[in-house]
Symmetry: C2
Subunit: 515 residues, 2 copies
């Protein structure tokens, strides 16, 4: 055979179907990486970026908008304040020393099912689904506003996926519930329809406190004091602004010893300079200031350094994904977080495509593979993201989750055990004889290769006979089957009742509002 | 903004169209990597695999089938022979020392247009299109056998792509030409419709010699003696067999000082043990034996260590792509080749999908990104591959080439120049002000981000208005436009005439045959 066109071996349809039934690999609570992170930038380059971040903190400073308590805490720690009392500048090294003094290198986020608790930090990777989309899409109904039913569906699908470790937070916006009350239904859905760890509300400090109260009901009122059970997403208002909503939510969680993802959210060219090295320095500066604030509120409260960086179309201003520049930022920020000594959040399966087509997959992989190779510790948007985050897709979710499963195998690295080296098998087999029936193959074939849940590896003829379906169409059948077979994890009826009573009481306490 | 759903900025349709016209980045003849390769396996692990390869060469040996001259050369170099004179075993270190003594670390493959000549070796990466598919596919006509017209079309598309550096070889099989004569038309197509470097025929030693003769006409009869102008694909018949066809073709090229890709082609579980570390050791052993043979034929003739490893469905026996295991092999083999000191070939945009859907893109990226991060020097199948290599797709080709363009930006790494660091821009801009109109942005925006030729980054509404097309449908319009606008590179009319005369003479010299 001279051309690289492997011949296919025939296989029975029944065998293929049986294989598909057993296609799910056993779930693990999170990934343990045996591989070193990829080193993209030299230590000298990283030191330069750290110095640049300190220069930004020192000479430019940040605005802490509408939160005098935050400004007071930072001033008392050594920062200087001017411009109406909101512009805060930091002596070189101040934020770094505050963070390094008390922020943990890693922490456990406890799940209500202890087998689902995750460690966030090195050498671990925790994968969570899409976050924040107002729209949902599936092949049957197209694109539409998300509802609470959609929200619950994605919580259920995440619960069922062996490749996702964390239930996430606002998997989609349930726009059929008033803005000022939907957090109660969202948090309850995570608590009731899953037993994986979850994220809390950040759209108002009161909603963060509601999340904490519900967690106290679920876990026991004393547990939170020395257990982290919530990790929440706090985005900077880049460039160089932290606003009162985000600071207030971060404060509420920190006071309760709960974790926050301190994430500058940057479309390069709009919210930062257009060049990657500048994005890195600014991201580090913003994150250092935010994390320092959290450590001043409660020393030791877990913080994750987050980075979300997108390129943009300089013609239309639209954010673009899957381009090389954000991947360069991701690798670099991961190394900077590791040097600082805090967990790192970035990445996901990001795309600007409106549908789960080839663009969506290429672009997603162009962020997700760097995510894995950089050794990101907490990955939001690992499944479902479409259209620059405006939409979560049911089929995209299924396809992405399959990629998450592959990452779980990849990070284990090369099996260098005697069985993995397989030298005896080569010795016994000799030249010119295939290995299909050898004892080594028979002993290993069940676990030798990742079995994709969504790929079609059949012959062209078989694929045609099966309807000539594309990947998205196959994924459509998968999520429907998963939801049809879903059963909720057990919960103490008394706890469930108390949660529901809390929600009813809170919803009755103030009028509906859509802000 | 709390959810990570970037707002879009409006942009004129005319602006978008103008941008698309300028979307092509300037072509470079090959990629120069500023990034270090990813180190997946420790030096200790690599040493173990090298020792295992030597054990295979020593204790198991290889069959050199039907080529007494090859066996004689190897025996005279120190190998032992038994089993009817074809089973060759090598003292530990023999093959390695033969290769390291004379094989070049890198070489120039000259193109007839000197601006298109490529360097194959570190720190460079050369991208070439798909190879060997009997079928072609496009959205208009579906899947069908390839023809000479298709072959020429893909040569033209590769010539036109700024992201592909090498014209490749059997981009598809032109099945409308007899098997024993189609090499003449294929080689001529590369020579006439492109001016990029190309590969030669390997399906019979005579066809290899025809390729060399045509190259002598094109480049001048004396040039080949000290210039490499052909690189050709020599596949092992794994496990542990080199056959007379491949050895004969390799000999023909080596005698003319032309380069060969010595590539074990392994479906793990069939042609090697099912475990990745065993695949690596066997691949290294097979490649070392093949490269040693070439060096004995002509010391110093360029050889590339090739690795093509696929997982397989252990249920159906079908090859599978985009799984984590072949990526582990790829990273490991790249490191082994680097330690040996020869250029490395692997990777590509590989998939088992029948169409250019999400499966095709995820799977392709799962091979192509490791290809880039491993620092592969010569990449076959970088564009067009579908269906495990049985088909080359027109739309897939366009989509893959766009990914090749992104890789070209990524490998340049982070720009740490003062302009890249952008510290002054952050200083001047201050907190809370966007960067869209700053002088730094204006000075950099034309080149700041890779501009995809195939992605749609528009709003959902604009995308819908434009027809709601998927990526493959957009790619369909692109390849048609490229072929419509194609103009052949100039060629000396006398040379062209001599090539055509040679082809007519050779075709008349023996009857048509389909073997």
């Amino acid at each position: 055979m001279t051309a690289e066109t492997p011949h296919r071996r025939a296989g029975g349809r029944a065998a293929r179907q049986a294989a598909r039934l057993h296609a799910h690999v056993a779930g693990v609570p999170y990934l343990t990486r045996a591989l070193e992170p990829y080193h993209l930038l030299s230590d000298e380059g990283l030191e330069t970026l750290e110095a640049n971040a300190e220069t930004i903190l020192e000479q430019v400073g940040l605005i802490f908008r509408g939160d005098p308590d935050a400004v007071r805490r930072l001033r008392e720690a050594g920062a200087s304040v001017d411009d109406g009392g909101e512009r805060v500048r930091f002596p070189r090294g101040l934020c770094r020393s505050i963070v390094q003094a008390t922020a943990p290198r890693s922490y456990v986020q406890h799940a209500r099912n202890p087998d689902r608790s995750v460690v966030i930090g090195d050498p671990y990777t925790v994968l969570a689904p899409n976050y924040g989309s107002p729209f949902v899409r599936d092949l049957d109904r197209g694109r539409r506003y998300g509802t609470l039913e959609d929200f619950r569906n994605f919580v259920k699908l995440t619960y069922l996926s062996p490749h996702l470790h964390h239930s996430g937070g606002t998997v989609c916006e349930p726009v059929d519930v008033p803005v000022n009350k939907r957090h109660l239904d969202m948090v309850y859905a995570h608590m009731r329809f899953s037993d994986k760890p979850f994220m809390g509300s950040v759209t108002h400090p009161d909603r963060a406190r509601d999340t904490v109260e519900m967690a106290r009901i679920l876990f026991g009122s004393d547990v939170l004091e020395d257990h982290t059970v919530i990790t929440s997403l706090i985005n900077a208002n880049s460039p160089l602004v932290w606003d009162a909503t985000m600071l207030g939510a971060a404060r509420a969680y920190a006071e309760a010893n709960q974790a926050t993802l301190i994430t500058p959210f940057i479309l390069a060219g709009a919210m930062a300079p257009v060049t990657a090295a500048a994005v890195c320095a600014q991201t580090l500066a913003e994150a250092l200031a935010g994390m320092a604030f959290v450590q001043l509120v409660r020393p030791g409260a877990p913080v994750i350094l987050g980075s979300f960086a997108s390129s943009m179309s300089m013609q239309s201003g639209a954010p673009t994904f899957g381009t090389p520049e954000p991947a360069l930022v991701l690798f670099t920020m991961a190394a900077l977080a590791r040097r600082l000594g805090v967990p790192f959040r970035s990445g996901g399966n990001l795309t600007a495509s409106k549908i789960a087509d080839a663009q969506a997959a290429y672009e997603s992989a162009a962020t997700f593979q760097p995510t894995i190779l950089a050794g990101v510790n907490f990955v939001l948007h690992a499944a479902g993201w479409l259209e620059g985050g405006l939409t979560i897709g049911y089929e995209k979710f299924i396809l992405d989750a399959d990629q998450c499963g592959m990452a779980g195998v990849f990070v284990r690295g090369l099996d260098m055990s005697p069985n993995g080296q397989g030298l005896d098998a080569i010795r016994e087999n000799g030249p010119g004889q295939h290995f299909l029936g050898t004892s080594h193959t028979l002993a290993n074939f069940e676990t030798a290769f990742y079995r994709s849940e969504t790929a079609d590896n059949n012959s062209f003829e078989q694929w045609t006979e099966d309807g000539g379906l594309d990947a998205a169409t196959r994924a459509n059948a998968i999520w429907k089957r998963m939801l049809a077979e879903y059963e909720p994890p057990p919960i103490d009826p008394g706890v469930d009742e108390a949660l529901l009573e809390f929600i009813i009481r809170r919803k009755a306490a103030f009028p509906d509002s859509d802000v």
